[in-house]
Symmetry: C3
Subunit: 682 residues, 3 copies
Amino acid sequence: MKRLNVTNEDRLLHGGDYNPDQWLTYPDVLEEDVQLMKKAHTNTFSIGIFAWAALEPEEGTYTFDWLDKVIERIESIGGRFILATPSGARPAWMSKNHPEVLRVDSERRKQLHGARHNHCFSSPYYRKKTQEMNAKLAERYGKHPALLMWHISNEFGGECHCDLCQDNFRSWLKDKYNHNLDELNHAWWGPFWSHTITEWEQIESPSPIGESAVHGMNLDWRRFVSHQTIDFYKNEIVPLREQTPEVPITTNFMSDNPEFVPFTALDYSAFAKEVDVISWDAYPAWHNDQEDTATLASRVAFLNDHFYNMKHKPFLLMESTPSLVNWHDVNKAKRPGMHYLSSMQMLAHGSDSILYFQWRKSRGSSEKFHGAVVDHDRSSDNRVFKEVARLGKAMEDISKNVVGYQRQAEVGILYDVESDWALKDTQGFGLKTKQYGETLQKHYQAFWERNIAVDVLSKEDTFDSYKILLVPMLYMMSEQTVKKLEQFVKNGGTLVATYITGLVNESDLTYMGGWYKPLKALFGIEPTETDTFYPSDRNAVLYNGKSYEVRDYATLLDVNEAETLGTYEADFYKNTSAVTKHTYYNGQTFYIGARMEDDFHRDFYGELIDSLGLTAPLDATHNRGVSIQAREAEGRQTIFIMNFTEESQPVLLLETVKDVQSGETVAGALELAPYEVRIVEK
Amino acid sequence: MKRLNVTNEDRLLHGGDYNPDQWLTYPDVLEEDVQLMKKAHTNTFSIGIFAWAALEPEEGTYTFDWLDKVIERIESIGGRFILATPSGARPAWMSKNHPEVLRVDSERRKQLHGARHNHCFSSPYYRKKTQEMNAKLAERYGKHPALLMWHISNEFGGECHCDLCQDNFRSWLKDKYNHNLDELNHAWWGPFWSHTITEWEQIESPSPIGESAVHGMNLDWRRFVSHQTIDFYKNEIVPLREQTPEVPITTNFMSDNPEFVPFTALDYSAFAKEVDVISWDAYPAWHNDQEDTATLASRVAFLNDHFYNMKHKPFLLMESTPSLVNWHDVNKAKRPGMHYLSSMQMLAHGSDSILYFQWRKSRGSSEKFHGAVVDHDRSSDNRVFKEVARLGKAMEDISKNVVGYQRQAEVGILYDVESDWALKDTQGFGLKTKQYGETLQKHYQAFWERNIAVDVLSKEDTFDSYKILLVPMLYMMSEQTVKKLEQFVKNGGTLVATYITGLVNESDLTYMGGWYKPLKALFGIEPTETDTFYPSDRNAVLYNGKSYEVRDYATLLDVNEAETLGTYEADFYKNTSAVTKHTYYNGQTFYIGARMEDDFHRDFYGELIDSLGLTAPLDATHNRGVSIQAREAEGRQTIFIMNFTEESQPVLLLETVKDVQSGETVAGALELAPYEVRIVEK
Amino acid sequence: MKRLNVTNEDRLLHGGDYNPDQWLTYPDVLEEDVQLMKKAHTNTFSIGIFAWAALEPEEGTYTFDWLDKVIERIESIGGRFILATPSGARPAWMSKNHPEVLRVDSERRKQLHGARHNHCFSSPYYRKKTQEMNAKLAERYGKHPALLMWHISNEFGGECHCDLCQDNFRSWLKDKYNHNLDELNHAWWGPFWSHTITEWEQIESPSPIGESAVHGMNLDWRRFVSHQTIDFYKNEIVPLREQTPEVPITTNFMSDNPEFVPFTALDYSAFAKEVDVISWDAYPAWHNDQEDTATLASRVAFLNDHFYNMKHKPFLLMESTPSLVNWHDVNKAKRPGMHYLSSMQMLAHGSDSILYFQWRKSRGSSEKFHGAVVDHDRSSDNRVFKEVARLGKAMEDISKNVVGYQRQAEVGILYDVESDWALKDTQGFGLKTKQYGETLQKHYQAFWERNIAVDVLSKEDTFDSYKILLVPMLYMMSEQTVKKLEQFVKNGGTLVATYITGLVNESDLTYMGGWYKPLKALFGIEPTETDTFYPSDRNAVLYNGKSYEVRDYATLLDVNEAETLGTYEADFYKNTSAVTKHTYYNGQTFYIGARMEDDFHRDFYGELIDSLGLTAPLDATHNRGVSIQAREAEGRQTIFIMNFTEESQPVLLLETVKDVQSGETVAGALELAPYEVRIVEK
């Protein structure tokens, strides 16, 4: 396996968002920054994010001098810069002079100037203006030797309901439905409640003061918003591609917070195709009081694997905090060691960088208490700075073992944002218990605890290389997706589905005849009812002689060719099938009809892991909370052994390895201190 | 007692909302429907609800062919149809061409097209247009032999604050207050906070961005909205009355959900006068985790008795679900037997039908997972379909014993929607603990558990025929209502009132001099203070040597001529009167000053039942959770013995009866399986 | 110490809001009022509040006759009146004829007429009109011998975002920032997120549909709203000052409810300078289920001391309820004795009045169930009326010992509303755990329980006369404030600060270099991190050998010259300093780094009280829940001994005193009945 270096750098990137435009009147601060950057072992800075007001203080007047100097300073320490286009926040003069750029919200209220990430994605003026700005940036900095990458705008998201967007929505629909309203009405199930559309002009985007219950339209609106956002992005990059075809382009993706599950405002699997490098902003709430550290670590791992697999190659951690954020309900500081550990986890899962928002804490405004490398004390002696520097040093040491190294997995789990949209929107089941993203993370966790690598896939991916594919709660399945799954199993794959899987097609229409026929054949069963539980309701499933608690959902099954592995222990469907297995051509399928406790996943997937001979990167035994993950390239594996608990953890190595940092040989019993990381190779 | 058949049918109606306009492009589905209708033992379908877009796809172009064919199909199985006017949902072209039909909400935002039940009740265009549509329907189908009834629009509700409605509100006020602003200002207690109105044009409907604290105005607004809605309905039926004077008219009423208490958006007691047949849509949340099945059954019984007594004759269950809904927070399936049991309870309480929303589950849009007779599997073999068919068969068997049979009660409980409006709106007491509807249901339950029939009455009803009348929490009492109550007691009636009873007159003005003088005489007491409790506050009442817990409210009383039956056990009013009795002319009155636990109601009303010699329809003993209810006509009683528990229940019959379904004689010990129903006659 | 009589009366004021304009059509009620006023021992009534509709029923037509008669009646019982300007509620005709007076809310929605306290503070029409009205009132009643005071409008608050207010906001900003946008941009930290303002016209007030995250702007907006409100008030009083320079002026202040902490909508410390007499409306929720009576009593005491110290002289209780309010979530009646006790507490803390809202309960509208002296029963025999009359009699008896008597304290606690605004608005820490006002009340309580008087101060006050000054959570500190604190300590004062103190300057900008340098010197420490806890997180501090629980916040400290008094017991900062002491020049400073349980405050401040020799007004021992407070003048002290518990309480007097009411000598053991008050002098 060759190294797949996503940047032009042969070192891990360490640094982050640098916003010197806040400090232009503080020359001592700018000088100090250079010294501190060196001390912190940083080498890469994202600049220009939100700098429009500094770059074009009045319409048509551009000022790049300050940015030139910033770049000089970064260069002076051998650093590289990621240059952002400033479109994430417009200057006030633009909203005043060109109100067209302001969004209209779903209640049809024209927004006032304020906040950020608030421009209409359709506005012709803003599209023209961002191209002009970007052309100027490309012209001035595109050939700069220290330019590493383009960072387009910032954390794209949101939507606009202005007249321009309404027109674009209608055009998009005309294209999609072949200018045929019958097709649209069928997809939207128009005749229900007399919602038949007879002229395109009757269509208005969903609104709390208008239409919100036509699920097909809501779904298309989400698709359109995603399309339009990506289209805006594509418009932005035109001058960059023209002038700097060799400079890679990224834009920073996100998770949904505070749930810490995949982002749902946009279809990232589509967006990923348009960027050269995936990058994301990760803000997990370490040390919270709802889950233990290992559980959260597993969920962080899931998201990293999600972003890794968008392009199946290393990605960048574009934003993170060395200490705390300031926008959670409770903003708790990372405990000593956690920043080092959690950053190493990112690297273990495929990141080629640890970058921060932001380099230096602001003096004022809304993020002045958001953790940064340089605190208000301007000191390199405090706990946070020292941990950042320690990490920076370690990253330098391990760079050659990590940069461009890849990840291999024999297990795939499918996350489909369109299904997420449709399921969230659908009326039915339990309003608060759908939790699609969280459910995927729970299934993923069973593999993470066994150190088995998992790829988080989209429905566009090819599944051939996997031994197991999980599709929990994949509510929406097009005929095409079903065909892919069929083929996967026919070829010998193992497929696992659950309750609320495969209920509707890509228009959120149920299949005629109940569960889609090919699914019945594939699983050898037919789900007949989904029982939804009240919060205090419980059932249990007897599986392999052990009883597992069930909450929220239980599917009633008609079992045809399948074999029953587990049965319900209570209620009117007591003793009926809850978990089934079906051999199909060269493969096999499993159906888990109920929402099971974690122990079931451990036992069930544990057996699958064993029977299919899946192996962890390192032969070792340890308690829950230790995670071992590997990256590999050029025949070498770099293995991260991480302790995500607050206690010392014994790890018994059954192979002899070499500590990458110390060079020591390590074998047999190993004791990991709380939050400790060891990086080894065989 | 003669049978009082509200339909022209001598059979119980079984069927429901049929929306074939969703399936016009699926001819096989339409054919299949006919077969399944027969299998399900159905005979009646409501059609055309929300079908405007299918009936008039563009302005002025009408298409009735599809409806003709639907009716033919229904006829082909010997079925009847209830024809709906389609005004519950306008087509999109109408909103586009005539924006006047769109509502303006209380924040004065013109609504966009969308959802349903969303037309301005004042719009001259829509009033003219609905008449045109209805005239066409009457013309084409009014003489059809299978036409059973008109179903006007759907689930009327909501309000509009547009300029037309503002004008109508002012006109309504002018009529009410004799064009005299002094009268209005007195009723609204205008001088408080300088709210005196000096010109009619100053009046604007209540609004969160305007006036919301003038209780008299809020109350009049609620009255106006109710009036205007009924007026819209009356406008709709003009062509029907003209062309089909012999066809009865209904519109489907509702409950307030999820509380499952009487509907408060409209004054149904006024609306009831304008319809020929009462019908309602019942969606209780069976198997929820907040109350046991018997308690919910009692509350369902209450609502049935509420609708029965709107016209004191049998009614129709117009909508229900055979399985689950999709708009509760948790949408749980009915357990086996529950659909049969809960439907039988409807019949026991006076319904002449079990109708469903909807016949067939939609493929798409907002109600695709709402339970229906035909599921997406299109099968007659699933649990739900089979239970529907079993019920249908049973209904055929018992039809002659039930249709048109009436209910008799010696106990009345008064629900007054105007009092509900005023009490909900009033500032004072506990914001979350008023619970007027729930309180009525708790008092009702004591009788239900003893199988004593109760009529739920409005203040317009005559009370002469009752032995006991309950007026719990009847906050608002006009002088006229008080006179009626006085007369009722004078004539020998037993009247029971509680805390927060009789505090204001019909304008929400308190009576001068404290409690209204005639009430003091009637009850022989004077309430001096209403003590309101914090959630964890408790008191107790000592009554007949037993202590009962008190929550939420405790009234302090000056006892004059009354006798004290119960006293408080704690707080500064310890040992003072909590429950009193007063003999007044030939009758007696009771005042329950505090919110008591259920056991008090059981004991207190139990004694009343015994002392007044009220009898259940069947002499039998059983545990709580079994309910025995009767309907009678032509000298025969049909008695439903129902087990609303999850356990088998012994019932000891002290009379010999005949099982209506099996023809067997039944006497002595009877064992009811969980959820079992036995229908017997003496 | 001389008496400082804030009214022209030598008696305590007893009475309240009298709104006879509600009763003009009830002449018997008006006559009855006079009789009841005498019976209730009342002597003072606030009239004309909200009477604009009665005073000017149509534009330009004035009717004062009814008010003349009301004043005659008050005079007839020897009473005095406080005359209100009616601007708190406009008549409907004015909104109709001059929509300019209607507010625009932050979402930029023009409000409709309704409610009260709803006029634009900028409206030129309303400013002119209130002057006209007030001039007429001054002309007609300004020389009346029974006129005690002017009461301007009512409970000022709220804000308006109309174009006039936007212009005024911009003008105010221009003045503040010397017409220099660079200054403004620096204060608002404009370059962050490109929020640089380049033309004044770009500025719009904060809005949920515009800008809400620029903390500097939010802060200036709050300052402007406060300024503009006071400016409106100053405009109102121009004709009064001209015509009646000798009549004192007040306006009724409030607390924030239901938290019962200082009011935050306006800067009362600035407003206080513009009134002659402080008055406030107190509505504590006695007998609630979240805190014991003593705790609430301590918080009431805090607020009284807050209002007392706004002018460092006696104030008026302008509104209170003798029984209950009707706008809490739970509206519970005061228990017997509580009205007397809680009123006496007000007098003990510096009030020269007990006034009620309102004299007589309304028949209708939004406050008809708000407690009043005269209930709907019109009786003088009920519990509430009798307790009011008992209090009135007692007030007559003690008037000469109380009126104009002052309060002395050696302890000050600083409440800064600007810091409150900034801290509430800031992103960071715990969203729900900032609780600035509540925290001050907790520190205050430790002194209250020891009967040590505390002055609640603003940052404008001089601190010289205090031995101890507490500045808990004083998040925002200008350089000037820090200088004052430094000087206070240099001169021998004892200063106590806590976590989240001194983090930003007056523009909500952090200090360069971490904690402000002079603060580091003053406290001998440097806070390095503020650890924020999840709800279930706990730590503990070991102090003087005892362990105290910590919640919510823990500050990590670098200790320089300071001495460590307490250390953390857990987490990664175990054994590091939590509480420190530093001797600075002639004084000393303490820093409490964590949010401690109440017992810590008791022990910590107890030691300070002892070491500094602070003394209570009476040498006595008693349990928690008894409070002893004193007022003094002309060498005499009047001491209130109050039992804020539901049990009898022994008090051991170590001094001999005389009971002011009975004249008896009291010494040694005293037993206070529940809620009992004894008023004594030495």
